[in-house]
Symmetry: C2
Subunit: 77 residues, 2 copies
């Protein structure tokens, strides 16, 4: 079963990579970009019989390894 995990920096945390990319886009003429943030998308294929089971397993993985709870939030889709 496929699960998609999105890991993003928490709202208050400065996103250095996002800020650089926003500036680079402005340099290319994309000055209509008001905000840009970059995170990770992790696509996990888990052996599970139900979607709920797979999500729960992904949630455990996030807590144990995939996300840093001090700096990052995660959502499972």
């Amino acid at each position: 079963m496929k699960v998609r995990v999105l890991v993003r920096l928490k709202p208050g945390i400065l996103d250095v990579q996002g800020t650089s990319v926003k500036r680079a886009l402005a340099g290319l003429g994309f000055d209509d970009v008001t905000d840009l943030r970059i995170g990770k998308v992790i696509e996990v294929d888990v052996e599970a019989t139900t979607a709920a089971g797979a999500r729960q397993r992904a949630d455990e993985m996030c807590r144990r390894l995939l996300a840093n709870p001090v700096l990052e939030d995660y959502t499972i889709e």
Copy 2:
């Protein structure tokens, strides 16, 4: 208008980061993970009046800067 861009390595391209994380998860007891790939999620806030306009603008950004067409695929949501 908010647009979400997902940038992922193309299917044939070796995902070194994903492979390492999969191995680390196996070491923590998550041996039910059969596949894991890591990409980027880019959340862009564009000044646009319509959703279609914002998507088109994001598509241009991907072609110009956000994605490397040799190695990566992108989807706009």
